[in-house]
Amino acid sequence: MLPRYILKRLLGAVPTLLILITIAFFMIRIAPGGPFDEDKALPPEILANLEAKYDLDQPLVVQYLRYLGSVLRGDLGPSFQYTDFTVNELIAEGFPVSLQLGGTALLLALVFGVAIGTIAAWRQNTRLDYALMGSAMTGIAIPNFVLAPLLILVFAVYLGWLPAGGWGGGAAGNMVLPVIALALPYMAYVARLTRGSMVETLRSDFVRTARAKGLPEWKILCKHSLKVGLLPVVSYLGPAAAAILTGSVVIEQIFGLPGLGRYFVQGALNRDYTLVMGVVIVIGVLIVVFNLIVDVIYALIDPRIRYE
């Protein structure tokens, strides 16, 4: 049943992405401002030439159909702002960086978040629980743009243990601080969600049965309860993974990293239409794929879940 479901969902991804591209395309174009707005208005002849070069003088529907055609051929078009690059090149350059950073951060957030949440639920309403959840809440309350400079100040400026920024070709030392700054809020989210759901799970009948037959506590926690208790975390991970893997503007700016996140905000502010569309498509594909994985994991952790 499951392979058929996966195939159906993958086929369903095509119209989903098509609708996404259509809505995003027109939304971006209807928004006021254009890619060639500058403090000093361009002479009309130059503007007309520029617009003709990028097909912007055509009716919107024609532009849309041409764009769709080139996307289907795998060509995301030229960037308006980075004039020497195509969007494909920009994404091919930025995405691996975001992927490496985001993947490491995601793994870190998942492992520590689940562990912290499980321990807190296991010792519910004790001092240990309050301390763990208190620190998790601190992690959520401190915004990225405060945490990242603080980390740089302590570990790079005062202690001098790690570089303050830069990518260094993905050297381990350069990754430590941005990964921590990126992972901490997600870790806190995962910990809170895990605790909430584990508290409920640890009260269910099957856990009582497992205790009654004398199973060791770690086995009850790790083998029996976590499987059920992780359900909300898995739900949260689909969109969270897509978000974390496409990079964070704030982190990339503060640490000076060449990732994908900055393109989204810069592209939006500069009306770099093709660049924004390219990033939207990358995010869309990731979301479709991760949410499909999430739905498959549901069926694996709870065999009663059916999708017909």
Binding site: L20, I28, G196, I287
Partner: protein, 299 residues
């Protein structure tokens, strides 16, 4: 036969609701939870401060004092929290910013609660094509460029604080919908739902009376995570110049302004951050208290 029909026990919802209802029990248990009650009291205090705090100060939130730029906190000058880089009183600004942040937090979270729970529960319970359609809509909304939505809303309706609520609310319910749907997929297969279906209870009633109450625990936890997210999204929008407009402010905007001068004028970061953190801590403990109180197994 005809005499028998009268004795078949029918499931009477009115009778089931009387006695100790879920909400009465929950309220009783919540009041016994000391951490939750303490958190509620502190939250109430913060709410009062935010509403009436500016009356305690001789200064306004927008008036600059050019002779007192980046003053440290002092009782003598009436600048209890110091002043910012153009000499505006930070005590009044923190209270004023709290109104915006708390309002954004409450309204957007309310939207997330209403739409997210209904959307997720219906998609998860009905399943099949309806589920597929509803969740694909969520996928599309996730991937849409949020900033263009904000820019568009502003162009169409003009710059307005209400728009920020709408924009954030329209985006923040998506996570809630996914989490609720995931839980519902699992709950739908439980024995008590099967029993209700066997009794002929209508789907709408099953969702409302059997599915939703079982979701409340994780919903309460996720709500306490949504409020800080909303407040931070708002600060990000303000940072880009799309959120609240100077001289008006919010906690997020104050924290990000304070973070820029955190070495020379740490009070600019400390006080708004402390209020933000205190609010989030209290929401956290209140949320956990609510979760415990709503847990039907915990009598």
């Amino acid at each position: 036969m005809s005499t028998q029909t009268g004795t078949i026990p029918s499931f009477d919802h009115a009778a089931a609701a009387s006695g100790r209802s879920l909400w009465q029990l929950a309220w009783r248990r919540l009041r016994r939870n000391r951490a939750a009650v303490g958190a509620a009291i502190v939250l109430g205090f913060i709410g009062l401060m935010v509403l009436f705090g500016p009356l305690l100060s001789p200064h306004g939130y927008a008036e600059p004092h050019w002779d007192r730029i980046s003053d440290p906190p002092a009782l003598a000058t009436g600048h209890y929290f110091g002043t910012d880089s153009i000499g505006r009183d930070l005590f009044v600004r923190t209270m004023h910013g709290g109104r915006i942040s708390l309002m954004v937090g409450l309204i957007a979270t309310g939207v997330a609660l209403l739409i997210g729970v209904a959307w997720g529960a219906i998609a998860g319970f009905v399943g099949g094509r309806v589920d597929n359609l509803m969740m694909r809509i969520v996928d599309i909304l996730y991937a849409l460029p949020f900033m263009f939505l904000v820019i568009l809303l502003m162009v169409v309706f003009g710059r307005n604080i209400l728009l920020i609520f709408v924009a954030i609310g329209s985006y923040i319910w998506l996570d809630m919908a996914r989490i609720v749907r995931g839980q519902t997929l699992s709950l739908r297969q439980k024995e008590f739902v099967e029993a209700a279906q066997a009794l002929g209870v209508r789907s709408r009633v099953i969702i409302w009376r059997h599915i939703v109450p079982n979701l409340l625990g994780i919903v309460a936890v996720y709500l306490t995570l949504t409020v800080p997210r909303v407040i931070l999204v708002e600060s990000f929008l303000s940072f880009l110049g799309l959120g609240v407009q100077e001289p008006s402010t919010s906690w997020g905007a104050l924290v990000s302004a304070g973070a820029q001068d955190m070495e020379s004028a740490p009070w600019g970061l400390f006080f708004p951050a402390a209020f933000l953190a205190a609010t989030l801590f209290c929401l956290n403990f209140l949320g956990d208290g609510l979760r415990d109180a709503l847990d039907p197994k915990d009598r």
